[in-house]
Amino acid sequence: MRNYIIRRLLASVLILWIISVAVFVMLRIAPTDPAILLLGFSATPESIEAVHEQTGLNDPWHEQYFDWLGDVLTGDLGHSIFTGEDVATELKERLPATLELVILTFATTIIIGIPLGVVSAVYRNTPLDLGVRFIAILGLSIPTFWIATLVLLVPSEQWGYAPPIGETVSFFDDPWDNLRQFGPPALILGFAAAAALMRLVRSSLLEVLQQDYIRTARAKGLRERVVVFGHAVRNSLIPVVTVLGLQLAGLLGGTVIVETVFTIRGVGSYILTAIVRNDFLVVQSVALYLAATVVILNLIVDLLYAWLDPRIRYS
């Protein structure tokens, strides 16, 4: 197991390095000069040159890359060329909001996805199953930004209700307003993620329900509830763990749109703004940060998977 972890850690470092190079190169080969974006229509050759000099854009690529990487390895994620803000400080300020959104979304995903998946499998090919599958397809196909807009507009226009818009409300300052603000986006993201999860749970459980040991359990005269929940569901959730891990990682990127729509000051809206204005140091550092989070989450999931399923551990 230790060797496995070491191998995975080494692979993770390699992955992060590849990602850092890829993001760096993509930002440099983009046709957009951040100096022009910074200066706008007042740009002159002289002022553009000054920005290039101040931001190090005149240096050779390899120097820029290793300077940045060296800073990152020492904990300095750099500064925005637009605001001068320290990226690490900004991340620290914004991370709690994104984490809360991710946690609420994750909880929503599990609460909706697993029970509906089980119901759908147990009542296979019944109207209930069809209804659940319809909901799943709906969740997978409706664009998040569209449903987010509806969730904002419809209650406001029809019933005069709106969540707090504008300033991000901390849970510790005002728990009720915080939940009013974070609840709708968490439900929207959770619904989309739950749709995929319920389909997976359904197919996994159906497969398990065909297994010999389930037939044996039934032959023993166990009640169906015990067969399903005591034997089948538990085993069917093993592959679900992997998907949940990936979904958790994907949620970090999925918050971008809803954070913007619901004016939540999180990491998603931060990187979106940075990408739009080609704030390259911010994009590089935040992308690497998110990539590291995803890699670590995947590692944890894989370890969890090995712990849950002895067959993998032994292999």
């Binding site: 957009t32 706008g40 229509f41 904002l152 818009i165 504008g166 729509v261």
Partner: protein, 568 residues
Amino acid sequence: MADSYWNRFQRRQMSRRRMLAATGGAGVGLAGLTLVGCGDDDDDDEAAPEETAEETGDDTEDDDEEAEATETPDDVPTGGTIRASTDVGFDSLDPHATVAGGLVVLPRVYNRLLTRAPATTDEINYDLATAFEQPDDVTYVFSLRDDVVIAANSFGVPERPMNVDDIVASLDRNKADAVLNGHNFANVDHASFGPAGPNEYQAVSSKVNAFFVDGYQFFHFPPIELIEAGTLQQEAVGGGPFVVEDFQEGQNVRIVRNPTYYVQPLPYVDAIELTIIPDRAARRTAFVDNQVDLYTPENTEEADQLLDQVQGINRRREVSQATTNVTLQVREGPFTDERVRRAILIGLNRQDFINRLEGEGNGELDTIVWSYFANYRLPDDEIEELQGYNPDEARSLLEAAGHGDGLSVEFIYPTPVSDEFVPVLLQQMADIGVELRETPLDFATWLSRYQNGEFEFLLSPNLSYANPISHLAFHQTDGPSENGNFWSGFSNPDVDAAIDAIEAELNIEAQQELFFEAQRTILEAAPAYIPLFSAYTNTLIYDYIKGYRQGEAPAVIWLTEFEFYIDR
């Protein structure tokens, strides 16, 4: 984000404008609520010239506003917070570097020498200056006020009167740093600047420039202590009517009343909160739910719908200061031929754009000087004569130029652009035999290509400038910034001479006539920069916000207007 660049450019252009009156009465301006424009949305929120507003506004509302304007200060309720929203953030409190939303907030925190109602040419509102004199054509001597005291603060800046050293320090800073907004103004437009006496400041223009002093209305003066400390990005205090209480980059800013502001009892409200809400649906929801006090709908239809739906709101309807333009590449390719440019000029059906995009009667046709500056825009009959829609003539011109079988050019535009706009343009051009090969670009790439002249047929939406000379600058050799940036390649000595003549003319009536003459010259030369139309902007405001007047200048950016109050 786009707005920020328009604003920066706008300020660059403003340096070319001149102050026509050499002296004037002191005091702050009378005009109204700056937040009408700043609060909610785009640059085109800004108010229009009075005559336009009267023509398009609601008579009852105008009467109400006039009644409010006669209230004496003693009658005015004080207190409360005005809550506005914007879709563009601002990233710094540095008055010399900030863009977009910063231009909304910082004029209320810092002082300028003077400001002027941009749609007029004769009203000056003095701030740090009490007057200025012009001993010769290039020298300007400003007398300074001695009672503008820096507000109490925690940044270690003493509560002392602002003085000439603060002004010179700001000019020095901008002159030294090419990245700052005022670099060209301080470095190129000025021959020199410095103290002229114990309480006087002198600026010398590098050439006779009728629009020179205008640059100062966009120049804010922080205390020299903050400049020397290098903390302007996060620390802001001055002698303006408000003080920054809270600033969260990308989210909101809250400014509160400066109790020692030199014009008492202003301001009437305790605070202004500006919240950044990027999503339009969220801004609308926040307004409907009364979480913000102002909202600029996307168009008149949405405004009408909200007026029916939401109780206790009223509308300000004004012609937009912004327009949308087509720019043709003249360095090479088909548009080097004057006949092809003219074909485009008269092949564009501006009325069709208005009817299909805004609704009939919800916009005005534009020409070289846009509709916002009605006093400088050519009369309708001349517009019809010089650029009237004539697809048959356009096709004939193209045929004469050797494009009888059609013309195909690359068409670039920044996204997002109205989904409805581009198809109308494509269809109009197809009708005269011009195929536009669409290349939608992200804003940054589009801007870069625009700056470098890498385009054939370009759309630039929502440009907004504060004076008519800025409009003409697009037609001069070397482009609007006079450095080759954003230049179509169009160059015509007669046009250049006509623009130069305006800049050198000090008499306002004569200058106005020169504006007309320059536009005729440009239209006769078949311009490469073609404005299309100006839509009407609707701003919805809750009834309890009072004390502002419609049509008295787009006070959003360039006037320190804050006579609004809350009366629930």
